[in-house]
């Protein structure tokens, strides 16, 4: 397979299954994606759609889960992530791939001072001396807009607010100037006035460092504003992908359209009733045959319940739906 020369990350037909006491869970089921340098790709989906498992698999983290079965190909800068040994993978982390998790309180070490945590990364991966590492750590805190960074270096995570902690986590993730940043719901645990600051910061760092960013979120608004492209997941599958700023206006998949219509928005008219999607997301232990969305889809036909649609070009996006072209507002 010849990877796309400009794409930094190339995922082909990734499948992640877990053996559980209640049977096989198909968390990610045949996902392909590419991501180029300087690009922000948002992965949008509800809980259980497989978006976080996808992010963790790209990082190679799911390889360490003993119940997980991974197939497919994940190439990062032409290296097969899924085939690397633990040592080789660890060499990529921090240095080339950084990750920001949802909850900064659990991703930071509670008994180490913030400065020491950042300095440790720099000393291990960048072979900096103690003093140089501390110096750089202060610079990094300044870079993520933390006021009086030198004083903060000496504080523990519990002494910082949620927004500050997430900034520290971002500083850690970008400390070694990685090529790829994976951010899994980076602002879900934060207050709205802080959320915007953190996202603006991520966008700025992505642009400044020419990083590729994989942004996992359940928030369509965040995807629309901060990503170049968006990929919508449902039941472990990609159901639609396209340019982020237009996807939600010009979505073709009934699921994406349903999501857009079911979310109250500040700029919508209040007298327009919300149109909820009936039913609920599928249980990943018992996924329906055919199109995963068929049981909830108002337009489903017989073939939708038997044949699994594959992604193909639609009017504005790439979409996995038998009825594309026939779907009208």
């Amino acid at each position: 397979m010849v990877p796309d020369p400009i794409s930094l990350l190339d995922v082909r037909d990734l499948r992640v299954r877990y053996a559980t006491s209640k049977g096989m869970v198909h968390a990610v089921d045949g996902v392909s994606l590419t991501l180029a340098r300087g690009e922000v790709l948002a992965v949008v989906g509800e809980s259980g759609s497989g978006k976080s498992v996808l992010a963790r698999s790209v990082m190679g983290l799911e390889r360490d889960v003993t119940t997980a079965r991974l197939t497919g190909d994940v190439r990062f800068d032409d290296q097969p992530i899924l085939e690397l040994g633990p040592r080789q993978r660890r060499a990529l982390w921090a240095r080339r791939i950084g990750m920001v998790f949802q909850n900064p309180l659990t991703s930071l070490n509670p008994v180490l001072r913030v400065g020491d945590q950042i300095a440790e990364v720099l000393r291990v991966h960048r072979s900096l001396g103690r003093r140089a590492a501390t110096e750089r750590a202060a610079e990094l805190l300044a870079e993520v807009r933390i006021p009086s960074p030198r004083a903060r270096l000496r504080q523990y995570p519990h002494e910082l607010s949620g927004g500050m902690r997430q900034r520290v986590a971002i500083a850690l993730a970008v400390a070694c100037e990685p090529d790829l940043l994976i951010a899994d719901e980076p602002t879900t645990a934060l207050d709205v006035t802080v959320q915007r600051q953190v996202l603006d910061l991520l966008a700025q760092l992505t642009a400044e460092h020419g990083m590729a960013t994989l942004l996992v979120t359940h928030d369509l608004g965040i995807a629309a504003r901060y990503a170049h492209r968006t990929l919508v997941m449902y039941g472990g599958r990609v159901v639609e992908q396209g340019p982020a700023d237009r996807l939600f206006d010009e979505a073709s998949h009934p699921y994406t359209r349903g999501l857009v219509r079911s979310i109250p928005r500040l700029t919508a008219r209040r007298d327009e009733p919300l149109e909820p999607i009936g039913g609920r997301p599928p249980d990943p232990r018992a996924l329906p045959p055919g199109c995963r969305f068929a049981p909830r889809c108002p337009m489903a036909e017989d073939r939708c319940r038997h044949d699994d649609p594959s992604l193909r070009p639609g009017p504005h996006t790439t979409v996995a739906c038998h009825l594309v072209g026939e779907v009208v507002a």
Binding site: E46, S47, R145, P147, S161, G163, M164, D191, V192, T193, V194, Q195, R196, Q197, L199, D200, H218, D219, L220, G221, I222, A224, R225, Y226, F248, D249, G258, L259, V260, R261, S262, I263, P264, R265, L266, T267, A268, R269, R270, E272, P273, L274, E275, P276, I277, G278, R280, P281, A329
Partner: protein, 343 residues
Amino acid sequence: MAGTGTAHLRPDPAPRLVAEDVTVELGPRHARAQAVSGVSLDVLDGETVGVVGESGCGKTTLLRAMLQLVPLAGGSVRLDGTELTGLGEREMRRHRPALQLLYQDPVSALNPRRPVHQLLAEGAVMAGRPRPDDERVAQALDEVGLDPDTVWDRRRSALSGGQCQRVNLARALLIEPRVLLCDEPVSALDVSVQAQILNLVAHVRRDRDLSLVFVAHDLAVVRYVSDRVVVMYLGKVCEVAPPDEVFAAPRHPYTRLLRSSIVEMGDDDAGGTGPSADEPPSALDPPSGCRFRTRCPRADARCADDEPVLAEVGPGHYVACHHPLEGSPAAATPVAPPERRLA
């Protein structure tokens, strides 16, 4: 202790539920924090009052104070003209069923060992109502869109989050409350399920002439369900306004900050300047005067000395600020026309 004022209260016609100048102090004696500080709010018959604010602003504590689940350090709560503050636990038990709470976590609000029909019947019994027969329980399930035959014997582990919230609502409705207090009722649910619950709550409210207090951090959700929106910051009310005005033409700098922090589909300019870099100060040691002044671009010496009190700035629009923003739409955050969506 100066409150944020009562100018926005509507004594006539008599509101169903009134909280006046409510103050709640939490924490150990040496570190008392005023989680709610002189907050007033009233709810008319059949009205939905939305309360928005960030975590720690006191919105949940305010709900608990209305239910008399936390002791009030000051102020009063009246339901249909009856003073609830200071009532003994026994008397409060008589009144509390009229105020039902819908919780943020719909799953843990249900006893894991009881089947749905028992949860519903026992809720009514615990509230001092006669035990509803099976037919009434089935009706209540129907009303919230659950098929009684399917869910009758299920326990919460066999229900989704959205279904659990429907069960909670059915249980509350069987008690026939006067006011439904909703504490972030959809924030734990998946986006595609949220709208189902929001529509259901709106429907039930109309059918039953319920009054609602709807607390949430999601501005769009609050704007959608409310007839009146109350914005809280660090235990105080900063603005009270009709839902269409409050985010389109905010008068309090904090409301504008909230609005401009929202990133939304099809909203190309989410408040140009962007939010301030600061974060809310600790409620343990709130700033003097106006509590928002440490993050406010308009703050001056007066804001540190005098606490602003709610004053009317337009019909049904009240703001507690010495330097309120202009009311003209030009000064407000531009709002994208809704028509351009979903052509």
